[in-house]
Amino acid sequence: MNRTFFVVFVLLLFFLNNLYIYAENPCSNTAIADILNDLEDLYKNHVNISYIIQYVDMLLKACSVGDIESASKLYQDILTELQYVKAISRDIYIRVTIYRIVVGGLILLIPIAIYMFLPKIYLYIWYSTRKKWIIVKKR
């Protein structure tokens, strides 16, 4: 029993230690790749991620000069921002989809509108430009 408890304890320590390393290393490939993965998903859902990309750029530059303190702060900011954007990404996706359907529908309605209104508009212009004309009977 004691032995089992000891093994579980060691495994737990190992797991927590790994978690600690991961949390403390914002410059690792895994941490950056996870952020990039989320950004790719958000980009596919038409979410504006330009400002988060700028943060990631700053994070990478901080990592490249060994400024771990700034990198950690930026990493936390990015995670917070990602959490917020992920929460609203579904709404943005629905909004963009509705916008596309409406615009698409309007585009498809253009030929019908032209078919219905072009002769009327043309006639209106035709008559308005000639309304001051005086008809004189030809001899």
């Binding site: 990309i53 698409g104 006639l123 035709w126």
Partner: protein
């Protein structure tokens, strides 16, 4: 309004042509909106001079005066997704040490620059590079400044060589 009156003023054939053009334009616009045309995905790396322009690259480096050269790197992302990139600077002394489209140069990296780019965005930045070992450089008289572009693969979570590189041959004088 009487139809015969309308027919008389607006020619039927002209009207039919206008309607046909409108239908084609409308369907084309709708299709492009629903299935946007996407060219082949690529990422580009460019090497520019110290004014960030093409041409007038340094041809000689006088190691007695300075080991440093200032150049400009240009990167354009057209991968259809954001990317994290890394530009690695290396030196090659002959053709066989240069990278290829599939393999990077086997020489050791001397410097690197990292960054992130959104889709359809570009980055241009100045780099101040150093020619390190003057004795080998002087013995060879000619060396190539190599810049390789690597991108972070989100699946494997490792840096992979993009197959894009630039190199600049310079004459070394003592």
């Amino acid at each position: 309004m009487d139809y015969s009156e309308e027919k008389m003023i607006l020619d039927e054939e002209v009207f039919a042509v206008i309607i046909a053009i409108t239908i084609i334009a409308s369907v084309l616009s709708f299709t492009l909106m629903v299935f946007p045309y996407r060219e082949e995905n690529f990422i580009a790396l460019g090497l520019l001079n110290e004014n960030c322009k093409i041409g007038y690259y340094p041809q000689k480096i006088n190691l007695a005066l300075s080991k440093n050269i200032t150049l400009c790197i240009y990167i354009y992302n057209h991968m259809g997704k954001p990317v994290v990139y890394k530009v690695i600077y290396k030196i090659a002394f002959n053709q066989s040490q240069l990278p290829t489209n599939t393999t990077p140069s086997s020489n050791a990296p001397l410097a690197l620059w990292v960054g992130a780019l959104n889709d359809s965005h570009n980055a241009t930045f100045l780099v101040n590079i150093e020619v390190p070992d003057s004795s080998i450089a002087l013995a060879n008289k000619r060396l190539s400044l190599v810049f390789e572009l690597w991108i972070l693969n989100t699946s494997s979570k490792e840096w992979i060589y993009s197959g894009r590189w630039n190199h600049l041959w310079v004459e070394v004088v003592g």
